[in-house]
Symmetry: C2
Subunit: 217 residues, 2 copies
Amino acid sequence: MATLTGSDLLTQLSWRYAVKTFDPAKTLSQSQWDTLEQALVLSPSSYGLQPWVFFNIVNKDVRKRLQAAAWGQTKVVDASHFLVLAIVKDFGQAGVDAFIKRTAEVRKTPEGALDGYTKAILGDLVNGPRHAIINEWSARQLYIALGTLLTSAAVLGIDACPMEGFDIAQFDQILGLDAKGLTARVCCALGYRSAGDKHATEAKVRYPRSQVVQVVA
Amino acid sequence: MATLTGSDLLTQLSWRYAVKTFDPAKTLSQSQWDTLEQALVLSPSSYGLQPWVFFNIVNKDVRKRLQAAAWGQTKVVDASHFLVLAIVKDFGQAGVDAFIKRTAEVRKTPEGALDGYTKAILGDLVNGPRHAIINEWSARQLYIALGTLLTSAAVLGIDACPMEGFDIAQFDQILGLDAKGLTARVCCALGYRSAGDKHATEAKVRYPRSQVVQVVA
């Protein structure tokens, strides 16, 4: 396996920071972007249900409209790439059915063989108590994908900035997400940090490890 | 920078799967574990607020009690390491104050210089509309840490399994989280896959990339 050493991983996670200013002249290569998209596709989710769609906003006019709905943050237009991460609204039976169908297709399993699995998922998320928080359950899964993306970018040496500061209703309207049964929850700009971003050299603020990770011995 | 190639990253993310059966005879080295803990410490969160504590459950009796509150899943006791990821309940002014104090300490900033930043955070999360969903906001941040952990483990060649299937109230009670103002949201077992885990060789079920990542051109 071509893995990273622990020391190299931590170097990359320390190198990562939430980029405030991107270099608008630098763009990721197609190969870099393909890797990031594929990392998102491979992201884990509960039961593997993938209750999400990721929008790669290439259109510059759309980027400008999104920027206006995100307090004017320059990274929306300046970063090489800008992703809007959306959840499937009110994930339910249709989402489970689609996933089981896909499972049968990918694994060449007779659909009947998955009935037990289908029942377990439905009993938990659709007909069970977690249905009451289904949009939050989906948002949490989306944030696994965000963590996967940010860590993947870091180990590739690609800069990123996650972004919660935007008007969800306006984003949904601009991207036509309502009609698709989707709603935006978080964004991520990706590209190259500007040489002038002073935040790049600020010390990372973290609580002491002994406080963040507590041992139950 | 000692980064991973895109191809090696994708190989590791494809190698990763939600391990069902861990090899109880194999344990992670102290150095591997230190790296994973440090990756958690370095995990991004909104504003850097880190509204979380991670519990490393070393005690075997506690593991058994947690297993009983998690549908008897063997990974709780068989995996080399077992983490319970908890959020700070009702994150508010105290959490913001602690973070600002820590920022001043780490960056040697006079606290007054951070007043604007403090106000922005309070206006958003404590006195703003997002306060109504503060525990969900914290849970989302926790899932960034989970994504960071799972991806870090994958690029290190360490096996893992995230786990939502447990009784939160029982976990909180067993670990005494209530008294600490915390509540468990997700777990993660880490270690080595058992040679007999047939899930290791099953094809990964993902929707086509063109469906998961949509281009707004």
